[in-house]
Amino acid sequence: MSGRKIVITSGKGGVGKTTTTANLGATLAKRGRRVILIDADIGLRNLDLVLGLEKRIVFDLVEVAEGRCQLRQALIKDKRFDSLAILPAAQTREKDAIAPEQFAAIVASAAEQADYVLVDSPAGIETGFRNAVAGAAEAIVVTTPEVSAIRDADRVVGKIASEGKPIRLIVNRLRPEMVRSGDMLSVEDVCDVLSVELLGVVPDDEEVIDTTNRGEPIVLDESNRLRAIYDKIARRLEGELVPFTSFDQPTFLGRLIGALKVG
């Protein structure tokens, strides 16, 4: 039984594709799934950095595509998990170093050894994005609740939907206090515009930057609330119906403001 092949993409850069790929992958691995993460951002690779694996890279995606090594030689096992491995992108090459068919073949080959293959797409809608989508059978679109990001996500949803692949949405870096003050779009607003099944809502967390700098996915931190949120996302991805919990944010003075959907 071949694993699921999911591309994580967004259109707009910087909304959290790589962080999402790393954390979702780590969460699925913790739940006992065999997970392979593939960094499709040739030339601007970051997935290895975010997982702290950059020093262990010997082979990369392009070398697998060119037949200079086997996939299994290029995969780097993350020792913190039982069943998480990544295939890093090449840093010294360009996105046209690999053709969509080659990339799709590698994803298919990875899917034979894993339950989940998550492909971290580059930003934009050019060759790199097209390659990343070529390998996948499903898509997760990541957006932040900002107008530019949503507009870009919409473009990407349009492109993927025309290929008939199922799409789900993660709204990332939500700031409930800004939604309350009307300075940020709400999750409902985002879903209205994109009309895509909602997979999860991840609040903004200032720890995330530090953990990505240090190469430690935030879901390893048991005290961080994002861990439970990614767990819910993983469960929904596996087909469970997990309700979106309301997130009451008491202010410093202890008042209860209205509930907001987060989780």
Partner: protein
């Protein structure tokens, strides 16, 4: 076919050359006068056309009033053919000479070994002790000069690479994401933060020197090493990396003159 500022580019790469020529002919017949008067540059990818095929190409193009001006590619043989056909040659991509190309293949082979051994949990490669020679002493004579040193006076940014048969000297930093590969030694007069591979064709006596040795990864011959993040960084300052007892060790420059680390090959 693609329009270019200076004429037409005809891409015949990635498939059967005969088919491509047929298709080209068909397309030009469709629009006979559109390209009239322009010149064309032909791109063959990895294929090397025969003189027959070049003749056909010229014929097809001249039928549409297009002159063949140049070939485009990164292949030495193609360049030679272009000269023979009195055409210009435009170089694309990394202009790897034949020897450099074989070097790349060798590096891949060496890295293959590294990956295999890492999978098996091994670090070392058993050295083969040379058989004692029972021939009489060879006459001393001048041997060919050792390969030259590539001398690069600029910082290497992420994604940039230097591959060289010989030694490499960089005056500047080597940023994370940059890569140095040398068959000889590597010396960085600055901060080495990228990847350096010395002795890339198997010379285990090769060394890597840097003013600030803080690499993402070091490779000497078929040994590979990365910093253990749990350990504290060794004392900063100029240091050398060398292979000893199947491992890569870092030696501060000041200690390099100790007898056990002298220029003699590792035991």
């Amino acid at each position: 076919m693609r329009g270019r500022l200076d004429g037409l580019e005809v891409a015949l790469a990635g498939r059967d050359l005969e088919e491509a020529l047929e298709e080209l002919q068909a397309r030009l017949i469709d629009q006979p006068s559109f390209y009239r008067g322009s010149s064309a540059v032909a791109y063959f990818g990895a294929t090397l056309p025969s003189t027959e095929q070049v003749k056909r190409l010229r014929l097809i193009l001249s039928g549409a009033g297009v002159s063949l001006r140049a070939f485009r590619g990164s292949n030495e043989d193609l360049e030679a053919l272009a000269r023979a056909e009195e055409l210009e040659f435009e170089r694309t991509g990394p202009a790897l000479s034949r020897s450099a190309r074989s070097l790349v293949a060798d590096f891949a082979g060496a890295r293959n070994d590294i990956a295999e051994r890492r999978k098996r949990g091994e670090a070392s490669v058993r050295r083969v002790k040379p058989e004692p020679s029972n021939q009489r002493a060879v006459e001393l004579r001048l041997v060919e000069t050792p390969p030259g040193t590539l001398y690069h006076t600029a910082t290497l940014r992420g994604g940039q690479t230097l591959h060289h048969c010989g030694n490499i000297v960089v005056v500047g930093d080597v940023n994370p994401g940059a890569e140095l590969i040398a068959t000889g030694d590597i010396l960085v007069f600055g901060r080495l933060a990228g990847i350096a591979h010395a002795g890339a064709q198997g010379d285990e006596a090769a060394r890597i020197y840097a003013i600030d040795l803080a690499p993402t990864q070091l490779r000497i011959a078929t040994f590979i090493a990365a910093e253990d993040p749990a350990e504290d960084r060794a004392t900063p300052g100029p240091a050398a990396a060398l292979a000893r007892d199947g491992q890569i060790v870092l030696v501060p420059l000041a200690r390099l003159n100790l007898p056990e680390f002298s220029g003699a090959a590792p035991a």
